[in-house]
């Protein structure tokens, strides 16, 4: 009998030992998935940056000529990655914008955290084409994608003591070469008065040009307040704190004579270094000259927030 069996099955492998075809094929998909996971571990930022966003178009800035993607993503002030304008685009590759959790704390019903994916779902994402005026006398027009800051404030449920909001940027000297040097008092801190934060123009941007934010522009989430100088736009926000008193913001700490808490774009308040009555529009070319800077960067609707305030003193 034994001899007979061997004759019929010369390999000597028992039928029970053979892997069924279905299982065999499943093994291939498992391997593929493992490969993809390994690849995404190696290239987390590239995979993130390639992500396109679902968003609604809005009427904001429809008439403006956009600054090129190239200029928006290669000429940045982001001192955590160096003080040169080209430094952030080169150095920010080490930042991992995902996974990302924002801490919400201070004068709120309850301290909590929110993941970046959940944040993006608090309100429908919108495209907002805004002018951005830097305190250094240049400007851009950027198609941000984001959501009103108000959506997050409503979710956070601040208490009656919340008069201001403090935005604290991510600070990681290991991956941020500029943060190893005390050019500013790290971490970067910015702030808004509550009514400024609730203003419909104020957004948390998570993308630009229809895609998620490039690291050098403040991935994964940054503040955009278009009627204020660009430095108000805290990048890579890690903590949002509701507070009773005016926050000590980074640039005010660095030089209170030059930078104010409000930092509203104002052509009639000059800066000790830079002319504020006119600006250079990035991408306009070598011979285009300067354009006149407008009060509140042309966003007149915010004027009522400052009714009765001396904007020469509260610059």
């Amino acid at each position: 009998m034994l001899l007979d069996n061997n004759r019929r099955n010369p390999s000597g492998i028992l039928p029970s030992e053979i892997t069924p075809q279905a299982l065999f094929e499943q093994r291939r998909t498992v391997l593929k998935a493992a490969g993809a996971a390994a690849a995404s571990l190696l290239l987390p930022t590239q995979a993130y940056a390639a992500q396109t966003l679902d968003f609604q178009k809005t009427a904001y800035g429809k008439e403006e000529k956009l600054t090129s993607f190239e200029d928006v993503t290669s000429y940045n002030n982001y001192y955590e990655f160096g003080t040169g304008k080209e430094d952030p685009a080169r150095e920010a590759v080490l930042l991992k914008p995902t996974p990302w959790t924002l801490k919400i704390e201070g004068a709120v019903k309850q301290n909590k955290t929110i993941g970046i994916e959940q944040l993006m779902k608090l309100a429908p994402l919108e495209e907002r084409i805004y002018r951005m005026r830097c305190v250094e006398g240049w400007s851009m027009v950027i198609p941000w994608v984001g959501l009103p800051l108000k959506a997050l404030i409503d979710w956070a449920q601040p208490t009656g003591n919340a008069k201001y909001i403090e935005f604290i940027s991510y600070n990681d000297p290991r991956h941020m070469p500029g943060a190893r040097i005390p050019v500013l008092d790290w971490p970067y801190v910015e702030g808004l008065r509550m009514d400024e934060a609730m203003q419909p123009l104020t957004i948390l941007a998570v993308g630009l040009y229809g895609k998620v934010l490039p690291n050098q522009n403040g991935a994964p989430v940054r503040l955009v307040v278009p009627w204020k100088y660009g430095f108000k736009g805290a990048k890579a926000i890690s903590t949002i704190r509701f507070v009773e008193h005016m926050p000590h913001t980074s640039w005010v700490k660095a030089g209170a004579r030059e930078y104010g808490f409000y930092a509203n774009v104002n052509p009639s308040v000059d800066h000790p270094r830079w002319t504020q009555s006119s600006e250079k529009r990035i991408g306009s070319g070598l011979f285009a000259g300067r354009i006149k800077t407008r009060m509140f960067n042309g966003y007149d609707e915010v004027g009522q927030l400052y009714a009765g305030m001396d904007l020469q003193k509260n610059f």
């Binding site: 304008k85 000790p272 009555s277 070598l286 000259g289 300067r290």
Partner: protein, 221 residues
């Protein structure tokens, strides 16, 4: 390494049979001056030609006006410091003929300072004189920069043999203005930067070093 195997025999013989230092000192100062001047011209033209090339090939970055202002300003400062290094260099190397290239270096400083101001007046402000005057009066760094440039004009104007002959001793005291210009130019740089003072520190240290190296010369008098 055997140089002989890489060089034509006649160059090898000419260079090494006499000994290098002997060869060098055998060259007349006149030849040295001619070669050094040619090298200065070449070196001085590179930055401005680079700007032209980058301008034509769209390589000046997002803010081309700022790029040109920064570059020409930096090179003006570099030529100023290099021209100030001639005197200590003469002392250290005992090569008296070096003085002959100082004027050329000074004039290149003036040329870059002029390019710097032209890019400011034209590219940045489109000759909008009302805005320019406001900018100069209101911003200390622009004011000291403007003062530095104005002071270089008389120096450039008197940088010829005739003026040296006519002004005699006064020429020397007039050209001491270069120290004032250097201090104003450095202040201009210090007050311009927002927060990162690395570059102004480097240039200031070089200037301080060039002054310290003059000490033995001054105390001898």
């Amino acid at each position: 390494m055997k140089w002989g195997s890489y060089m034509p025999a006649w160059i090898y013989r000419k260079t090494f049979s006499m000994g290098l230092s002997q060869r060098l000192s055998a060259i007349s100062p006149k030849t040295c001056i001619r070669w050094l001047k040619a090298m200065i011209w070449l070196g001085a033209l590179v930055p401005v030609l680079r700007l032209v090339y980058l301008g034509v090939s769209d390589g000046l970055g997002a803010n081309p006006v700022e790029f040109i202002e920064r570059s020409t300003g930096t090179w003006a400062l570099v030529f100023l410091l290099v021209s100030l290094s001639i005197t200590p260099l003469r002392q250290l190397t005992q090569q008296a003929w070096l003085i002959a290239v100082r004027r050329l270096l000074g004039l290149w400083m003036f040329a870059y300072a002029c390019l710097h101001v032209t890019s400011y007046l034209w590219l940045d402000y489109q000759f909008d004189w009302a805005d320019i005057v406001k900018d100069i009066i209101k911003h200390p760094y622009v004011l000291v920069g403007a003062a530095a440039l104005l002071l270089t004009v008389p120096l450039a104007a008197t940088s010829n043999q005739q003026a040296i002959r006519m002004l005699k001793q006064r020429w020397k005291s007039l050209h001491k203005l270069v120290y004032v210009i250097a201090i104003l130019a450095l202040l201009h740089f210090w007050w311009l930067v927002k927060k990162d003072v690395t570059e102004p520190v480097i240039y200031s240290v070089v200037f301080a070093l060039l002054i310290v190296l003059r000490w033995p010369l001054l105390s001898k008098k």
